[in-house]
Amino acid sequence: MTPQSDALLELSGIGKRFGGLAALSDVSLHIRRGEIYGLIGPNGAGKTTLFNIITGLYQPDEGGFTFGGAAYAHCKPHLLAHAGIARTFQNIRLFANMTALENVMVGRHVRTRTGIWGALTRNAAARAEERAIVQRARELLRQAGIDRPHQTLAKHLSYGEQRRLEIARALATEPKLLALDEPAAGMNATETESLKALLQTIRASGITVLLIEHDVKLILGLCDRVAVLDYGKKIAEGLPDDVRRNPAVIAAYLGGEAA
């Protein structure tokens, strides 16, 4: 698959400080439609902070970004979800006391419209929409490989299942861009392998993927392009193989993982 040249997400000069700490400084990225874009860097480099900015949870102190051509900095999270950015969280944030199915159904919220009236009367439109929500949610659960009864509470799922449930929930919002924060963390080799397959299916369905990951094999095997953050700055960007050989990157990782 050849990445198309037009940008889906374009960050320019993003800066973010927490007190005296510059978590991000002057970060510009350019993510194209249909690609899997990797974001790597040591712990504390600012990757998650970047995610929080593009999903509206934090406001950047400097710079801004466009998504699908429109400027979105300083926008509320739900509007960014509506615009088509969905994400998962590094420290899983599921709706713990809701069932697996309900978690994914919540993801459909932004693309559906039944209000109080529909909920109370259960009119034809509301019923049809509810049916469609359930059906889509079940499909997504199946796609994410959650074989457990769908009525299981999210907090009772295994760790790997919870990670995949988060992905299913994000996909339910019909994103154009899926941002995954360390989805393979804590997974064993088989689980990582099935995650890789899942991500490839997702990309094949036309969704652009932005991926934070520490697992170098996963990054190399999956990503079209990679950017490296260190101390809040972008120190390299390019094809995975090139980035891997970049001296600055090796230095950032102290010749460790990325070598």
Partner: protein, 382 residues
């Protein structure tokens, strides 16, 4: 087909599932029991207790309304009784000699509910972005503000009649049928407490119906998502401010409606009925019963009204029997025991007597099995 499996069973138990004979039987038995309850209560415990049951229904309505705010959306509201007060005063001012207005019940009651809703939005709009406990104190302050206004708006212009409250409020009249009279129907004598019982029962069932429908809907799921994790909910595209405001407004509306019924039922209201203690009591009903679970909330509401009354009737005579005289002020003793009961029940069941997560497990036994399996896997791994 798939969809049918989705519906929660509690709903089927209350409204009946045509495909299940057992559910029908339970439903019919429940209906008969509820219909006979006031007469059975009167025969066994006396008429005073029918009145208490009526109050229990009013408080159950309140608890169900607050459950939308606290149980579903996870917003701690410590001033909920203010909405009850707004509804009650709206009814009282428009249907009593206070202003000489005697508007019909079907105008004032919805008006009170609407006014309470407006107050809910007015309070919620600027404050709902506050984090949990800050919201709690703001709502508490709001409740106190309303109460203080009711207490003092008798001068320089007399609106609320101050601490004396409003007397001779019109009874609820449906058509020409006053609920405050004694009526002979089908050869049975119905006194006001019976008639109000049936009215309150109908309204309570309506509130339960509304709650159940909302719970199992797009809006209900959004409320629960916010309760579970507001950040994740907003990242999934939920407009958290609007959805929280909706919960607040819905809860306030129910509170206002219950307030109107209260005013008509009592015929007299004063600011005393709308203090912080009452707000706190409604929160206790919701949490102790089981936040977010209709059955639990109903249980909590019934228990917290009936238990203190039972203790009131028990504390004095029990002392008489034991010691031959009243050693301890029965009023203090009963509240003491009530407080202890609150502590003990929460220690015994921290998630409430009948919590919603447990109900979910009851709904899908397979999930429970899966959970046990998972735990045994953990055990094996140790």
């Amino acid at each position: 087909m798939m969809n049918k499996k989705q519906k929660p069973m509690i709903q089927e138990m209350i409204f009946g599932n045509p495909s299940s004979r057992k559910a029908w039987f339970v439903f019919a038995a429940l209906a008969v029991a509820l219909l006979l309850l006031p007469f059975a209560t009167e025969a066994l415990l006396g008429r005073g207790w029918v009145r208490i049951v009526d109050f229990a229904l009013l408080y159950i309505m309140l608890a169900l309304g607050l459950n939308i705010v606290v149980g579903y959306a996870g917003l701690l509201d410590l001033g909920y009784i203010a909405f009850f007060a707004v509804g009650a005063y709206c009814y009282a001012l428009l249907g009593s000699p206070q202003f000489g207005l005697h508007l019909p019940f079907w105008v004032v009651l919805p008006l009170g509910a609407l006014l309470a809703c407006a107050f809910g939005v007015l309070l919620g709009a600027p404050t709902l972005r506050l984090r949990g406990d800050y919201l709690a104190i703001v709502t508490l302050g709001f409740g106190e503000i309303i109460r203080i206004f009711l207490n003092n708006l008798n001068a320089p212009v007399n609106i609320t009649n101050g601490p004396q409250g409003i007397n001779m409020i019109d009874p609820i009249r449906i058509g020409g049928f006053s609920l405050s009279g004694t009526h002979e129907l089908f050869g049975i004598t119905f006194s006001p407490v019976h008639l109000y019982y049936y009215l309150f029962l109908c309204v309570t069932l309506l509130v339960i119906f509304v709650s159940l429908r909302l719970e199992d809907s797009r809006i209900g799921r959004a409320w629960m998502a916010i309760r579970e994790d507001e950040v994740a909910a907003s990242a999934m595209g939920i407009n958290t401010r609007d959805i929280k405001l909706l919960a607040f407004a819905m809860g306030a509306t129910f509170g206002g409606a219950a307030g109107g019924l209260f005013a008509g039922f009592q015929g007299f209201i004063s600011p005393e009925s709308f203090g912080l203690t009452e707000s706190v009591m409604v929160v206790c009903m919701v949490v102790l019963g089981g936040m977010g679970n209709i059955g639990g909330v109903v249980l909590g509401g019934a228990l917290l009204v009936l238990l203190p009354e039972a203790l009131r009737n028990g504390a004095g005579p029990a002392q008489q029997a034991l010691f031959g005289k009243t050693l301890i002020d029965p009023e203090s003793l009963r509240m003491l025991m009530f407080g202890l009961a609150l502590v003990l029940v929460m220690l015994w069941r921290p998630a409430g007597l009948w919590p919603s997560t447990q109900r979910r497990r009851e709904l899908s036994p397979d999930a429970e099995v899966a959970h046990q399996e998972q735990e045994s896997v953990y055990d094996a791994a140790k």
